[in-house]
């Protein structure tokens, strides 16, 4: 014990010396001069110099919103891969009733980490990636309101991920003394309070830090959209994506600090013998209420910006403006408000007061109205439009289709009598995966393909993009539709094996649907491998975009602010005589061929 303490002390001392040394090398502290206005930009010293250092140092020290957006994006895609591998292991395990590859404890760890990884390490950060890169461009701002806080928020995430995944690495090293958490992503007490495993503490700390990061990001987006809008951008013509990011940030501001506090209370219960969630005093219900007061808005935190992406991109390839723009904005705000009044629909089967339950059912059903407003507006935008089935457009249409299935199944779950039958079955799993993969995932892909030319200066490979879409669409529907059927058959969720009595559920049919879901998951996997290959190879050696308008949006007068910025960038680069852009000039003059897919 004393030896361990000594090693730890030595390690900390060395780290401190290294950090102070690195900072002393990088910075001239005596040069810091207070800015007149106390602003956070550093323009006073930065003006007239190069913007960023080169190499790795650029990425470690950047406060540029575009760089931070790319960092968020890379981070989120890595997390998506990790969460995806966990999902594949889960699906392989469930191919046979007795389980195929892992034991029950490891299955529980995979299940917990898959959920947390996808929601907190992929979902929230990938949306922050889009928002960081594009909100300032869309609203005509130079950068975020607080560029340094932006960087701090990002740098909290890699350690958060390491803490959340730590148990997988420490379990073999410590002889399973520190295992990955097995609490499921909802961390229900008393299970989470009483599991002695320190891996749960690590996971809670990681989750808490990711919440701090999300909150810092949200404050930054709100301040940016309120105060940094350029000339000509006002509330009346603010784009739909920025509206959804603003609403999402508001939700984060109210929801995440509450999750953070609840997790601190749980950590105190676990480590310092407090009794917030003691079973005798209704502590179990207290955790569920606190968790879902955050957890349901979290659903809308994850889905509103993707809805904004679809509302933004879908009209571009329909050749017309978004139908009922104002009502799409109003429905966004309505969802934002209503999302805080539905949390207890996750708890219908807990034995809570039936009168309270009925009111939560009413609000949950009511939230279908603004969601339907959006859906009908997307459909009406496409109605009689000049559709161009480019890859981003295909993903937008896929979003609408999957969102309808995910949404309608949610309406059924909102109804108390139906929920009491389907609660804790695969029906719920199918429902929310239609939303998180079929809708949110698809909108994210639409965004990545649509803005790929701006971020990379190159075009992705069209055929691979289409293959990615069709494999994702088929894979999603095979996997998650099978889960809806499993739910109707009574298959409970979170089970590592399902060798149950035929009186509980028809085992042969359950096995078949599980196998179907696994086949679908493999189709999805192939699609995502193609996606990663496509993005990486196209970024490195794809065809350079030869005009500022790769989607030919100008002909319908639909060029967005971000592509106008891209135009200016290219013009400035040409004037500077940048090497890259000389070739663009030489290849110029054929705008018709620049379009990826018309």
């Amino acid at each position: 014990m004393a030896g361990e303490q000594l090693v730890l002390t030595g390690l900390m001392a060395v780290l401190l010396v290294v950090i102070v040394g690195a900072l002393a090398r990088a910075e001239d502290w005596r040069s810091y001069t207070p800015l007149a206005g106390g602003g956070g930009y550093g323009e006073a010293t930065g003006h007239g110099h190069a913007e960023k250092p080169g190499g790795l140092v650029r990425w470690l020290t950047t406060v540029d919103h575009k760089d931070i957006g790319i960092l968020y994006g890379v981070y989120a895609v890595v997390a998506f891969a990790v969460g995806g591998i966990m999902a594949m292991l889960i699906r392989v395990q469930l191919t046979l009733p007795g389980g195929v590859i892992v034991g029950n404890s490891y299955y529980n760890s995979l299940l917990t980490s898959h959920g947390i990884t996808m929601l907190f390490l992929f979902g929230t950060p990938i949306l922050a990636a889009f928002a960081n890169y594009f909100v300032p461009l869309l609203i005509g701002a130079d950068d975020m309101a607080f560029p340094r806080i932006n960087a701090i928020a990002f740098w909290l995430l890699p350690p958060a991920a390491l803490l959340i995944w730590a148990g997988f690495f420490t379990a073999p090293l410590t002889g399973n003394e520190i295992e990955p958490a097995q609490t499921a992503w909802t961390m229900y007490t008393p299970l989470s309070a009483e599991q002695a495993n320190p891996g749960v503490d690590l996971m809670l700390l990681g989750l808490h830090l990711s919440g701090v990061a999300a909150t810092m990001g949200a404050i930054n987006f709100i301040a940016t959209i309120f105060t940094e809008r350029g000339d000509g951008v006002n509330w009346a013509n603010l784009d739909i994506f920025s509206w959804t990011v603003l609403t999402q940030s508001g939700l984060i501001l109210f929801a995440f600090p509450l999750l953070g506090s609840a997790m601190i209370m749980l950590l105190l219960d676990r480590n310092l013998a407090t009794t917030f969630f003691a079973t005798g005093n209704g502590g179990t219900m207290l955790w569920q209420h606190l968790f879902w007061f955050f957890g349901h808005p979290e659903v809308y935190i994850l889905v509103l910006p993707p809805m904004g992406l679809v509302s933004y991109i879908l009209p571009k390839f329909s050749g017309r403006k978004l139908f009922g723009f104002k009502f799409v904005v109003y429905s966004t705000l309505a969802i934002g408000v209503l999302s805080f009044g539905v949390w207890a629909h996750h708890m219908f089967s807990t034995g809570m007061d039936p009168r309270l339950r009925a009111s939560f059912m009413a609000v949950s059903l009511a939230i279908a109205i603004p969601s339907a407003v959006k859906t009908f507006n997307w459909i009406t935008t496409m109605w009689n439009g000049q559709l161009r089935l480019t890859t981003p457009m295909l993903f937008c249409i896929g979003f609408v289709s999957n969102f309808i299935i995910g949404g309608v199944t949610g309406v059924f779950l909102a109804s108390i009598p139906v929920d009491l039958v389907l609660h804790d079955t695969y029906y719920v799993v199918g429902h929310f995966h239609y939303i998180v993969m079929g809708a949110i995932g698809f909108a994210v892909f639409a965004g990545i393909y649509y803005w790929f030319p701006i971020v990379s200066g190159r075009m992705y490979q069209k055929t691979l993009g289409k293959a990615h879409f069709w494999l994702s669409m088929i894979g999603t529907n095979v996997t998650f539709f099978a889960m809806l059927a499993l739910g109707y058959l009574g298959m409970p969720r979170r089970y590592a094996t399902y060798n149950f009595d035929g009186a509980i559920a028809p085992l042969a049919q359950v096995t078949t649907f599980h196998q179907l879901a696994t086949v679908g998951a493999f189709i999805l996997l192939v699609g995502q491998l193609i996606f990663v290959w496509n993005v990486v190879t196209s970024w490195l050696e794809g065809r350079r975009v030869e005009s500022h308008d790769p989607w030919n949006l100008e002909e319908n007068d639909m060029l967005g602010n971000e592509f106008s910025w891209f135009k200016e960038q290219r013009a400035t680069a040409l004037a500077d005589g940048g090497e890259e852009d000389e070739s663009v000039m030489a290849d110029g003059g054929q705008p018709g061929q620049q379009s990826d897919e018309r």
């Binding site: 900390m12 502290w29 810091y32 913007e51 340094r148 909290l156 808490h208 950590l267 480590n271």
Partner: protein
């Protein structure tokens, strides 16, 4: 480029501080909650130092030393407050340090606070006497 210039002077959109502010917060949380004394002290010192650095670099403060002193003082008060409020006086002994989880965590917070405040005061005095 002038080689003597610091990174954030040389480049308009670069700052070395955010990475360390984030790292400081992470290490502090892990150290305090898991009750790892040295990790907690190191994390809090890094966190406080980086906050002083980033506030000065971005122009919100003219010198880093008052921030160090203030943040250190705050930590010391919080740590002492925790002990006074929650730890019985009889447990505040050298033996109790290893036994009582809250006591050792509070002492770590106080220690980090004292280190930061001392660094801030010494640097401030040294700066005034040399200039």
């Amino acid at each position: 480029m002038n080689e003597e210039q610091g990174l954030s002077d040389q480049y308009g959109r670069a700052s070395p501080w955010p990475l360390f502010v984030a790292l400081g917060l992470v290490v502090s949380e892990v150290g305090v909650f898991l009750g790892l004394f040295t990790v907690a002290v190191f994390g809090l010192v890094l966190f406080g130092g980086s906050i002083a650095g980033i506030l000065t670099e971005s122009g919100y403060a003219s010198r880093p030393w008052p921030t160090l002193l203030g943040f250190g003082g705050l930590l010391a008060v919080v740590g002492l407050g925790l002990v006074v409020w929650q730890v019985p006086l009889s447990a505040v002994t050298l033996e109790g340090f290893g036994q009582n989880g809250l006591l050792s965590r509070s002492v770590a917070i106080v220690a980090a606070g004292v280190i930061l405040a001392a660094a801030g005061s010494v640097a401030s005095v040294a700066e005034q006497t040399t200039v």
